[in-house]
């Protein structure tokens, strides 16, 4: 029961108050780049979710190895290589398994190679999970839960943003604000709502 409560707590914290995009302002370039259409937003969000889960789990295990070998300064290269390997591996796998899956999800995979969100989630996972004295499997489980929750948070942010931006397209906006500026202001306003959730005690 206690475990269940903890998981719900992590879920709420990472989707609402500590949302990776609106709470911690990571992956803003990705947010602006791929939220013009709802289809793209859902595709990119799902791809990030999948890569996030696999990446946190793998990086947790690999970081333990790095600590064991006293090679902690290699963590930036390791994290990036994990992401790149996962992205290209999943891309090839999807193309082989089914054409439809590749068309709806695989084409967005190369876009997320340099996604700050995935990198930051790995960073946070390593810092928070390794700080406590979990056993290997407990830490493994927490890393997986953390990956799922942060990925869900990113997906939610992207879908919200895409919904507002499709409305923005038909709105009458002053000329200097068209394009990126209004998208940034929209993101700022949504982020304020998320900050409000934090103050209200979510």
């Amino acid at each position: 029961m206690e475990l269940f409560v903890t998981i719900i707590g992590v879920l709420m914290a990472s989707v609402f108050s500590g949302n990776i995009v609106f709470g911690q302002s990571m992956a803003v370039c990705q947010l602006l780049g791929s939220s013009k259409k709802m289809n793209t937003a859902v595709g990119v969000g799902t791809a990030v979710l999948i890569v996030n889960v696999l990446a946190t789990v793998i990086c947790f295990a690999l970081y333990r190895l790095l600590v064991y070998l006293n090679l902690e300064y290699l963590r930036i290269i390791t994290f990036l290589l994990i992401t790149v390997a996962l992205v290209s591996g999943l891309n090839i796998l999807m193309r082989k398994v089914s054409k439809r899956l590749h068309r709806s999800l695989g084409v967005y995979l190369p876009l997320i190679t340099t996604n700050c969100a995935i990198f930051q989630v790995m960073n946070i996972t390593v810092n928070s999970v390794l700080g406590q004295s979990y056993t290997f499997w407990q830490g493994f489980g927490f890393a997986a839960v953390y990956g799922v929750c942060m990925g869900l948070g990113f997906l939610a942010a992207l879908v919200l943003m895409a919904g507002v931006r499709t409305k923005n397209e038909t709105a009458l906006i002053p000329k200097p604000f068209r394009g990126f500026p209004i998208a940034l202001i929209t993101a700022g306003l949504i982020a304020m709502v998320f900050a409000g959730l934090r103050f209200s005690g979510f």
């Binding site: 609106f22 290269i77 996604n115 604000f177 700022g188």
Partner: protein
């Protein structure tokens, strides 16, 4: 050196500023520009990594096969970022307390990968270094301006601008202002050329109009 190309590269960071025009590399920009010192330090670190990466990519452009070029660039960038990370940890412990958590994020800055892929791999070393310096300084100026604005507004009592939401909002407003000023300059220049043409006819067009 070709003079026109040289000038274009030199002014690249200002005409197409990474923060205000290209809107690249925003994640650290917004996360850590709450005060001017942090913003400047982060900008300088990013500029350093950008210049080094551009030079190395340009030197290795024949050695790197086309198919695996992105992975190679990522490893180069990660290497330089590690260098900066270790340097700051060792020599600037006060800075490490504040910006230490976002220094690793330089490795996933889309600006650096973008410049390596779109400029450095097609140009000579000198141009690549110049482009890195110009873009890096442009990024530094942009992020420092944003940091200064946020710190000022925060000191004036509008503490909302020091949060993530305020950063996004302020950057959007600044971008709008930048676009507005640019359009003003553009129309002024257009008007000037039109008036000039009315006063004395264009000598390259032939004297038929008279």
């Amino acid at each position: 050196m070709d003079k026109k190309h040289f000038k274009q590269t030199l002014l690249g960071g200002f005409v197409s500023n990474p923060v205000f025009v290209l809107v690249l590399g925003l994640c650290p920009t917004i996360a850590k520009s709450t005060n001017i010192v942090d913003a400047f330090a982060l900008g300088a670190a990013t500029a350093f990594v950008l210049i080094c990466t551009n030079v190395l990519v340009s030197l290795l452009k024949k050695a790197i096969p086309d198919k695996i070029r992105l992975i190679s660039y990522i490893i180069i960038i990660a290497g330089f970022t590690t260098l900066v990370d270790i340097f700051i940890r060792a020599y600037l412990p006060a800075l490490n307390q504040t910006v230490g958590s976002v220094i690793p994020l330089i490795a996933v800055n889309c600006l650096i990968l973008g410049r390596a892929d779109s400029f450095a791999r097609k140009n000579k070393v000198g141009y690549a270094a110049l482009d890195g310096a110009s873009m890096g300084i442009g990024f530094m100026i942009g992020i420092t301006l944003l940091g200064a604005a946020r710190q000022l507004l925060g000191m004036a009592g509008l503490s909302v601008f020091t949060t993530a939401a305020g950063g996004l909002l302020l950057l959007g407003l600044l971008l709008g202002l930048y676009n507005y000023i640019r359009s003003l300059i553009y129309t002024a220049r257009k008007k000037r050329t039109r008036t000039l043409r009315r006063i004395k006819p264009n000598p390259f067009k032939g004297g038929k109009s008279q």
